[in-house]
């Protein structure tokens, strides 16, 4: 019965392979987040400036990434960029690129929103003290925005982690791809492996994402008090 199929995890080094696949997902998510948040901050700041052209271009950028599903982004990065623009990095770095640009787009909107919701009086009292634009952002607006945007940022991080489940679509040996290999390799001995392997992956994602979203929820609750 299904119970015996749980033994599929004891076969060979299946468990460590799954963890290895998960690690691939996690580091791609982590690197993309770090780069994406940095780029997104810059873009977000630029979007609060009065320059119409910059704002328009960045808005287009954001909307493109809002419109196109991530799966499609991954394909574009993996297959179109190398051919059309002759950028050819290993698959995982292409994924990092696609994720980074996506995170940057989403985060730029979070940053813009947060900066704009710093009370106007804060900006003005900074100006009244003679701070210039750079100083105003550096010392007044960004630190306060950072606090406002933290919950949304953590939520974005959980989404990025979940989206790594699509990596197998572009030949990256992520946890799902490894899971499929295991299911296929043990097909005969454990016909129900499919249930246990996907079940384990489901749980693994939950274990990573749940603490993050719980943290974000706590912060949100604290804010609204």
């Amino acid at each position: 019965m299904a119970h015996s199929a749980i033994n599929v995890f004891l076969e060979g080094n299946n468990i460590s392979r799954i963890i290895g696949g998960l690690w691939t997902s996690v580091w791609i998510a982590a690197v993309s987040l770090v780069l994406g948040l940095a780029l997104g901050t810059i873009l977000g700041v630029l979007r609060t400036l009065p320059n119409k052209v910059i704002r328009f271009v960045l808005r287009l950028y954001l909307e493109f990434f809002r419109i196109v599903p991530t799966i499609v982004l991954l394909y574009l990065a993996y297959y179109i960029l190398p051919r059309t623009f002759h950028v050819n990095w290993p698959a995982s770095w292409m994924a990092v690129l696609a994720f980074t640009l996506w995170v940057a787009a989403e985060f730029s909107d979070i940053v813009r929103g947060a900066i704009e919701s710093v009370p106007k009086s804060q900006r003005e009292s900074g100006l009244a003290l003679g701070l210039n634009k750079m100083q105003l952002f550096r010392y007044v607006l960004l630190p306060q925005a950072a606090k406002l945007e933290l919950p949304a940022t953590i939520n974005l991080a959980t989404r990025v982690i979940k989206t790594t489940s699509l990596l197998m679509m572009i030949s990256i040996m992520d946890v799902v791809a490894v899971g499929q290999q295991i299911i296929e390799a043990n097909n005969q001995q454990y016909p129900n492996a499919v249930f246990w392997v996907y079940g384990l992956i489901f749980i693994l994602y939950f274990i990573i994402d749940y603490p993050l979203s719980a943290w974000s929820k706590r912060l949100t609750a604290k804010h609204s008090r």
């Binding site: 009370p119 804060q122 003005e124 009292s125 003290l129 701070l131 210039n132 630190p143």
Partner: protein
């Protein structure tokens, strides 16, 4: 003796189609206190904000210390260092401690030495009775305390003139007194030039060297001394004064 520190000529300001300030003209001498009175929405805050370039006024000229102000953002950034301003909402930076709030502008804008400014800040904090709170964050302070720190923060820049926009309006009645006392002292002891918007009539009457009464963005009265409170020229001003005392 009467040196003109500030002179405003034909100042007009619009929000969209709505004219918030109509042809404002006045002068202010160094060391004097100008109080700006008028009903809500009459343009008092707008005028103050024009005076340190927080608003891009439509037309008119401002002379600061005898020099015509070139109204570019760059230029205002320099002038603002000589103009202190305190707002109704106590706008300390919530992410910085009291001391950091005070140090920020003198250090980063005026590039003064940390030791120097710290010393001065400590002195000023003592003066307003808050030396204990150097390392506190704004959230740990009451409204009145925050407002005192905001005044100290502005003073640490060595301004030539201070602008106060209803600084006691959001405070608990008991806190109001302390703040008003600090402002009186600034005028009497330091001979600070000040423009004050306030609804505390008895305080205004005590401290004013000159009164501007605004309504609908126009100056209805520009009266030297304290005469305004006893013999207002216009009927509107009389009504206003009446309404302020129940």
């Amino acid at each position: 003796m009467a040196e003109e520190i500030l002179k405003v000529e034909h100042l007009n300001q619009f929000y969209g189609d709505w004219q918030a300030l109509h042809d404002i003209n006045f002068t202010l001498n160094r060391g004097e206190v100008l109080t700006l009175l008028g009903p809500s929405g009459s343009g008092k805050s707008t005028l103050l904000r024009c005076l340190n370039g927080l608003e891009n006024y439509k037309s008119g000229t401002i002379y600061f210390e005898g020099k015509k102000v070139d109204p570019t953002e760059k230029n205002w950034q320099n002038i603002r260092q000589k103009i202190g301003m305190v707002f109704q909402s106590y706008d300390l930076f919530p992410n910085l401690t009291v001391m950091e709030n005070i140090l920020l502008a003198p250090r980063k804008v005026q590039k003064r030495s940390e030791v120097d400014v710290k010393q001065e800040a400590t002195k000023l904090l003592k003066r307003v009775g808050l030396e204990k709170y150097v390392n506190a964050y704004p959230r740990e302070l009451s409204g009145g305390q925050k407002q005192r720190i905001a005044i100290v923060r502005a003073l640490a820049m060595h301004p030539e003139i201070m602008l106060f926009d209803e600084v006691t309006a959001s405070l608990d009645p008991e806190m109001v007194r302390g703040i008003l006392k600090i402002m009186s002292d600034l005028s009497e002891k330091d001979h600070m030039t000040m423009i004050i918007v306030t609804h505390e009539m008895s305080f205004a009457a005590k401290i004013a060297d000159q009164v501007l009464f605004l309504e609908d963005g126009k100056i209805l009265e520009d009266t030297p001394g304290k005469e305004f409170f006893t013999k207002p020229k216009t009927k509107r001003a009389q009504e206003f004064l009446d309404s302020m005392n129940f």
